[in-house]
């Protein structure tokens, strides 16, 4: 496996929405990162649909059908449907097969009839449970997960994705307690190890079918941190710590690409702009049109270098404006249209900069994802590209430096909680060993004791 030790882009200004160094083509004449932004819609199956395969299949069909109808009604040239599978779908690969087949068929029907470019991303659930022997590897749940991914690939998904959960037990502990070392170990080391294990398998499966290995995002760690960090008034997780977690997540999620994933990288963890700067693959992101799912503090900024613009997730139900697949595809569709207009008129860079500057100083978490800063973190990562631990640490340190510079230049102000937790984390990170093995040994000892669910064997350690 070749690790990234160089940046795909020569400088941050080269990065812009709708354009990736390495565009991806899929069936139904759709491209990602090839000069236009594709809107995406994602809808969570309604309550009760988990009760039977029949209900779930029907639910999946309705979601796809509604999305297609609205796409045509408002004139979207292209869109992607992502279906995130729930436990019952992944643990029953025949559900996966049937749900994927019907969605792929529906999208294809509209492509045939209207020439509308469509794509289906099928995202299996990572149903493995570290605390139940034999843990993350070679368990029955592991096997089901891989079978389900194959069922998606074999039944018409244009691409597959997953949010792997390796390292979560330790990072959960660290996020709740503001323990930077646990977060670094959970994300940078354990997460990266587990991704390598999973993604080699996934890429091999995809090779057998007309299906792309898309990507992975650090939902279980970076997004958890952001979720707990919450709004400006929340008091659960420091926003500076959440910013560092995000930076480390980029070092982790990059592993999918190193294993052969080609994008669009899955949205959710918000680390993708950094990975794009390193790898040049197209990315999905979410922001102001994902308010249905959660509140971030960077609704515009995340659009700056996106290739697929997502709503993250919404209940499947009726709004006054239609069903939610209709309503939210229209929302992301209109934003993508704005970006595509900017591209067409040569104003892409201006819009990108406006998106970025709208939120850059709203919160430290936003700040480090501004494309210039994302690029800097990318550079820090590739400098230590061959060592997952060191590159995650470097990402965090760079993110810290970015925040501190903004504070020094009086462009950003921190609360005491944010200030103290950042100082503390950076101090700890600076003093850590420079050898991966030593760090891992220390952490195994410390967190095996503190975190009941953590099992080094799940990582081959």
């Amino acid at each position: 496996m070749k690790r990234f030790t160089r940046m795909a882009y020569k400088n941050p200004e080269e990065m812009i929405f709708g354009h990736a160094k390495f565009p991806v083509s899929q069936r139904s004449n759709i491209q990602f990162g090839a000069g236009y932004v594709v809107p995406e819609v994602k809808v969570a199956p309604g309550e009760g649909t988990e009760e039977s395969k029949e209900k779930m299949v029907s639910e999946c069909r309705n979601i796809a059908q509604s999305a297609c109808e609205r796409a045509v009604a408002v004139g979207l040239p292209a869109f992607m449907l992502e279906q995130e599978h729930i436990f019952q779908q992944t643990s029953n690969p025949d559900w996966t097969a049937e749900c994927t087949r019907i969605q792929a068929e529906t999208l294809e029907k509209y492509y045939d009839e209207y020439d509308i470019r469509t794509a289906l991303m099928a995202t299996s659930a990572d149903i493995r449970e570290e605390e139940k022997a034999p843990g993350l590897r070679d368990s029955d749940l592991y096997n089901k997960t891989m079978e389900s991914i194959e069922a998606s690939a074999a039944n018409g998904a244009s691409c597959v994705a997953i949010e792997t959960t390796g390292g979560k037990s330790v990072s959960d502990y660290g996020i709740a307690r503001g323990d930077p070392k646990a977060i670094l170990f959970g994300i940078g080391v354990l997460g990266s190890i587990d991704m390598e294990y999973m993604w080699k398998g996934i890429v091999n499966i995809c090779k057998k079918y007309d299906c792309r290995a898309a990507g992975d995002t650090d939902c279980s760690q970076a997004n958890t941190a952001m979720f707990l960090a919450g709004g400006l008034m929340d008091k659960d997780c420091s926003h500076t710590i959440a910013a560092l977690a995000r930076a480390m997540a980029a070092a982790r999620s990059l592993v999918a690409v190193e294993c052969g994933a080609v994008g669009p990288l899955k949205d959710c963890g918000y680390e993708n702009p950094i990975i794009k700067s390193i790898s040049g693959v197209p990315i999905a992101t979410e922001g102001k049109n994902a308010v249905c799912a959660h509140s971030d503090l960077m609704g515009n900024l995340t659009a700056a270098v996106t290739d697929v613009w997502s709503n993250e997730s919404v209940y499947h139900r009726q709004e006054m404006g239609g069903t939610t697949p209709e309503v939210w595809l229209q929302a992301t569709g209109y934003e993508a249209a704005l970006m595509n207009t900017a591209i067409q008129t040569g104003k892409g860079e201006t819009l990108r900069d406006l998106y970025t500057l709208t939120d850059k100083y709203r919160d430290p978490q936003a700040l480090i994802l501004a494309y210039d800063n994302a690029y800097r973190i990318g550079e820090a990562i590739v400098k230590y590209g061959n060592d997952p631990y060191l590159r995650a640490r470097a990402a965090a340190l760079e993110a810290g430096a970015i925040i501190n510079e903004a504070v020094e230049s009086k462009k950003m102000y921190l609360t005491r909680f944010e200030r103290d937790s950042l100082d503390n984390a950076l101090k700890i990170f600076e003093e850590l060993p420079s050898e991966s093995d030593q760090f891992i040994d220390e952490c195994i000892r410390k967190y095996s004791r503190k975190v009941a669910e953590f099992d080094p064997k799940s990582y081959g350690l």
Binding site: S58, N62, Q65, G75, P77, Y114, T323
Partner: protein, 274 residues
């Protein structure tokens, strides 16, 4: 760059596609559509009467009908073999996407004018497929949906009692007593007026009255709400109303059956109902 210069840079198809224009087939003359040919009567005076409806010509419709009646044609025949055939053709073209709502409304006006003329000769109301009571919920001023429902019902041979908008629940109960409808349609466009529907059902039950089904529809009304009380079925499109009525009349469906087989009954995919 100026606005105009920017405008000239755009390749529209990257931003928005007018699918309605893209997929439009060639124009047809309404009476040449093969399915319409099958419906339209070939013998006069019925053909002329039907064509006047098809061409949405209220005045011609009236003239034709009067002439036929003067000539002694039975008013029942004028209605069934002339006016209704024309309207059937109109409905069909609407379903096929060639005709539009205004066509339906205007053709419906023409048809109703003719029917009235026939009924005057008959001396009583003409036979219909059944009576339906339509109302807009109390406190709600939005009546366009209800107007469409009424139009579609009439165009399909039902007697539709139009109670108007903002109709007190007590009046609805009275209307059921009076008309013993085979179906009822309620329309509400607001969260705070759709709550009238369960009240109507309760009031009917209290009086021991039953209607095979009450179709509850309108902008803010959601299926989950409508299905949280009995006797009701969630109505999606106005043109579904006569199909639901048909299912009651022909197939003896109750509200339970309508709920379960909605998509099949209306003959199309309905995202809330499958």
């Amino acid at each position: 760059m100026s606005y105009e210069e920017l405008e000239n840079e755009i390749d529209q198809s990257f931003v928005a596609v007018r699918y309605n224009v893209e997929i439009e087939g060639p124009a047809i003359k309404p009476d040449e559509d093969p399915d319409v040919v099958n419906i339209l009567p070939t013998d006069e005076p019925y053909r002329a009467i039907a064509l006047a409806v098809l061409y949405e010509d209220r005045d011609a419709s009236l003239t034709n009908v009067k002439k036929a009646l003067d000539e002694g044609v039975s008013p029942i025949d004028v209605i069934n073999n002339g006016l209704m055939k024309g309207m059937d053709a109109v409905s069909l073209l609407y379903t096929k996407g060639f005709y539009f709502l205004p066509d339906l409304m205007l053709a419906g006006d023409g048809m109703m004018e003719g029917v009235k003329e026939c009924e005057q000769v008959l001396g009583h109301k003409s036979e219909t497929k059944g009576t339906v009571v339509s109302f807009v919920a109390e406190g709600d001023p939005h009546d366009i949906g209800k107007n469409l429902v009424v139009m579609f019902l009439r165009a399909n041979g039902y007697e539709a009692i139009d109670m108007g908008r903002d109709v007190p629940t007590a009046d609805v109960v009275e209307a059921v007593k009076e008309h013993k409808p085979i179906f009822m349609t309620g329309t509400a466009l607001m969260t705070t007026t759709m709550t009238v529907f369960p009240k109507v059902v309760k009031a009917l039950q209290k009086e021991g009255l039953e209607v095979p089904a009450i179709g509850c529809g309108g902008g803010a009304v959601r299926r989950d709400f409508v299905e949280s009380f009995p006797m009701s079925v969630y109505g999606v499109e106005a043109y579904h109303a006569p199909k639901l009525a048909d299912a009651i009349v022909k197939d003896k469906k109750t509200w339970k059956g309508l709920r379960k087989e909605y998509s099949d009954i209306v003959g199309e995919f309905v995202s809330e109902y499958s």
